[in-house]
Amino acid sequence: MSTIFGIPAPALYGQILIGLINGSFYAMLSLGLAVIFGLLRVINFAHGAQYMLGAFAAYLLLSWLGIGYWPALILAPVIVGAIAVVIEKTMLSRLYGIDPLYGLLLTFGLALILEGAFRYWFGAAGQPYSPPPQLTGAVNLGFMFMPIYRGWVVIASLVICLGTWLLIEKTRLGAYLRAATENATLVQAFGVNVPLLLTLTYGLGAALAGLAGVLAAPIYQVSPLMGSNLIIIVFAVVVVGGMGSILGAIVTGYVLGVLEGLTKVFYPEASSIVIFVIMAIVLLVRPAGLFGREE
């Protein structure tokens, strides 16, 4: 059996794949957080709960209404985004312009309520959710076997991240968003409905989390705490990438996912803290993050 740095090659490839999959979720979630923080200056602590809501929406669509995976990929993010729009309109929008701590506390409270409610209804154990029949099984890549669904997740997340990046960098709506991130008052003085833009942005960020939740359901099971397990790492990713940096969130998400996977191979004891060690180093050397702009 071939080895690389004394590690059996299949084990190495396997961990890189797991790292890429985790990285896909880090990237999608930190991307939504970065978009929301960039414009609203709100640290959205409900992001993990919105990811969990997306997974539960897919699960409930199937078990209550018999609606399968493919429609759920569209419906679940729409549901999560719609709930987020209501939250923004009724609660979050009242907190703009005051200490950002209030937005953090509100979203943290909402996350606790959502997770508590789903634990009450469904218990803490995970509910299984099967991948669609088109994506079951595995494919032999020559150097390893890869479950098809995992390959799909990596590709889908790349498409989602690229699509979001193009939306922000290349469209008129994205130009409004970038400009409003710099100077919301002036953009509104030009006649752009900035309050609506803020609502849509929060909805979009939450919908991205919901979409990640649907993609995650067949891999990690559907459980009320699936979001809170992940969200702490995602915050570390956002800090390393630079708060509010779109590209930083995407690149850092994948890179840290793979680094975490590699750490599991070469020094497993450190695998659960490697991201936080990197975060600490980045904060010391470049407090604004790798892709962040100093303010």
Partner: protein, 235 residues
């Protein structure tokens, strides 16, 4: 002139937090007129523009455009009513390139300049259309800030110190642009410290002091009133 003013401001009071900064400002601008606000730093000229635009929210009094009340409108509806704002700090966005900056303000009515017309008026902007907005020189940024509101079909443009800190040749260039805009029938409310520049374009002057309008006179009286102005403006 018998026609009703296009923009009518009556008894405008405004506050920055607790501090009362405008004290009953009255101002009229008729269609096609260029009106210039003069006054020392801190007299309330920029504040008057910000209060008319609605950027400064704590206001009382009357602001009417063609008889339509602007005071009760949310900020984004003021531009849609036909006001174009060119702020003192120019407000060019660093995360947008020149072309994106130009295309940012949504059109508010028919009759705005086409992108081709704008680029023929400001050839530099066309050359640098893919550059980051804030990489432009100060003069180019000022031209971009003006060009940006010409596309939208705004009926009145509010220009806050467009010549501040610019070289004489650029000031000359901006003066030519304003004269061209006047010829097209654009209505302009200008805040300006540079007399020679203002004299070239202004039909009428308002003089502000301590958040009040203290005088107003037609443009051709500027030279005759220089002594009085020197006293109020301290220049």
């Amino acid at each position: 002139m018998s026609s009703a003013p296009l923009l009518e401001v009556r008894g405008l009071n405004a506050w920055y937090g607790e501090s009362h900064v405008l004290h009953g400002v009255d101002l009229d601008i008729r269609e096609g007129e260029t009106v210039t606000l003069l006054g020392r730093n801190g007299a309330g000229k920029t504040t008057t523009l910000r209060a008319i635009m609605g950027i400064l929210r704590r206001r009382e009094g009357v602001i009417r455009l063609r008889g339509k009340d602007l005071l009760g409108l949310p900020l984004h509806k003021v531009a849609q009513a036909g006001l174009g704002y060119v702020p003192e700090e120019r407000g060019i966005f660093a995360s947008l390139n020149v072309s994106e900056n130009l295309m940012l303000p949504p059109p508010v009515s028919e009759g705005g300049m086409s992108v081709e017309e704008i680029y023929s008026l400001f050839p530099n902007l066309h050359e640098r259309r893919s550059s980051q907005g804030t990489k432009l020189s100060g003069g180019e940024q000022q031209m971009l800030a003006i060009a940006r509101v010409l596309r939208t079909g705004a009926r009145i443009i509010l220009l806050d110190e467009p010549t501040e800190g610019l070289a004489p040749v650029i000031v000359q260039r901006i003066g030519d642009v304003l004269v061209a805009l006047k010829k097209r029938g654009m209505t302009i409310l200008l805040v300006e410290q540079n007399f020679r520049f203002a004299k070239k374009v202004a039909d009428r002057f308002y003089l502000m002091e301590d958040g009040r309008m203290v005088n107003s006179f037609p443009g051709h009286e500027l030279d005759a009133r220089m002594d009085e102005l020197h006293e109020v403006l301290g220049v």
